[in-house]
C-alpha cells in the first residue's frame, strides 16, 4: 500500500487516463456498460481518490520536488476524471429535444435514400411489412 501511495503521482493519472479512454475505445460497444458508464466512472474516480491519498500521505515527509509531482499527478487525474463525469452527466444530454414533427399514429414520412450496397431504398416499398427505423449518429 505504501508503495502504491508513494507512486500515486504517476499511477493515479495513468488509471484515470485508462478509465477515460477505455470508455470510448472498448466499453461503448458493450450496451450495458455504455448506457450506465458505471465501470469507467468507478475507475476514474478511483484514480482521483488515489491521487489525493498519495499526495496526502507524502505531504509532510517529502521534498518540494516530490510534492510538486504529486500536485501534477492529482491535477492530471482530476482532468481525466472530470472529463468523463462531464461527458456522462452533462455533455451527452446536450441534444435538441426530438421535435413534435412526427408523432405516434401519424403516417411515417416517406424517403428514398442510397444504401451502402448501392441501391436506392424507399420506406414506401416496405408497405405491408413492419419496419424498425433506426436513426444512429454515425459509423464511429
Amino acid at each position: 500500500m505504501n508503495f502504491v501511495l508513494r507512486h500515486a503521482w504517476w499511477l493515479a493519472p495513468l488509471i484515470a487516463f485508462a478509465g477515460f479512454v477505455s470508455y470510448y475505445l472498448i466499453f461503448v460497444s458493450v450496451p450495458t456498460l455504455r448506457d450506465s458508464a458505471a465501470l469507467n466512472l468507478i475507475i476514474v474516480a478511483g484514480g482521483a481518490i488515489l491521487a489525493i491519498s498519495g499526495a496526502a500521505s507524502r505531504w509532510g515527509k517529502s521534498s518540494w520536488k516530490v510534492r510538486t509531482l504529486h500536485v501534477f499527478g492529482s491535477l492530471g487525474s482530476f482532468l481525466f476524471a472530470g472529463a468523463l463525469f462531464w461527458y456522462v452527466f452533462s455533455l451527452s444530454y446536450q441534444m435538441p429535444s426530438g421535435s413534435a414533427q412526427t408523432e405516434k399514429w401519424q403516417l411515417a414520412p416517406d424517403f428514398s435514400l442510397p444504401s451502402a450496397t448501392g441501391d436506392t431504398v424507399s420506406l414506401s416499398s416496405f408497405r405491408g411489412q413492419k419496419v424498425i427505423l433506426s436513426f444512429y449518429r454515425g459509423f464511429w
Binding site: 405491408g128 424498425i132 444512429y136 449518429r137 459509423f139
Partner: protein, 111 residues
C-alpha cells in the same frame, strides 16, 4: 453505431416476427460501405448526408458530429404495415440507446 450490432444480433427474432430493419445516418455511402459493411450488418444501411429524412423526422442534432457537422440524434421509430408510426423511442441522452429487447417489447405491445 453499436446499436446496429445489437439489432443485428436479434435479426433472426425480428424477421421471425415479420419485422424489417432500416438504419439511417448522415454518413456518406462510401463511409457506410467501408466502415460498416465489414462489421457484418445485413440490413440496409441508408445514407442521408443532406439530412432529408433526418429532418423529416425532426432528429437533427446541430454540430453533433465529433468531426464537425450535423447528424441525427439516436432514435427508433416502429412503423406498422400501413406505414403508420406505432412507437417513437427517443433517449434523453445520446449515450443511451434503445435495446433490441425494448424494441421487440414495444412492437408486441402495439399488437
Amino acid at each position: 453505431m453499436s446499436e446496429l450490432q445489437g439489432l443485428q444480433s436479434q435479426e433472426k427474432e425480428f424477421s421471425k416476427a415479420g419485422i424489417r430493419i432500416l438504419a439511417i445516418s448522415a454518413d456518406s455511402p462510401e463511409d457506410l460501405k467501408e466502415k460498416l459493411l465489414p462489421k457484418g450488418i445485413s440490413f440496409p444501411l441508408l445514407s442521408d448526408p443532406e439530412l432529408e429524412a433526418i429532418d423529416a423526422y425532426g432528429l437533427r442534432h446541430e454540430g453533433g458530429n465529433p468531426f464537425g457537422g450535423d447528424i441525427a440524434r439516436p432514435a427508433v421509430f416502429l412503423i406498422d404495415e400501413e406505414g403508420r408510426i406505432v412507437e417513437k423511442i427517443l433517449t434523453e441522452n445520446w449515450r443511451v440507446r434503445p435495446t433490441p429487447e425494448l424494441i421487440l417489447g414495444k412492437f408486441s405491445d402495439a399488437g
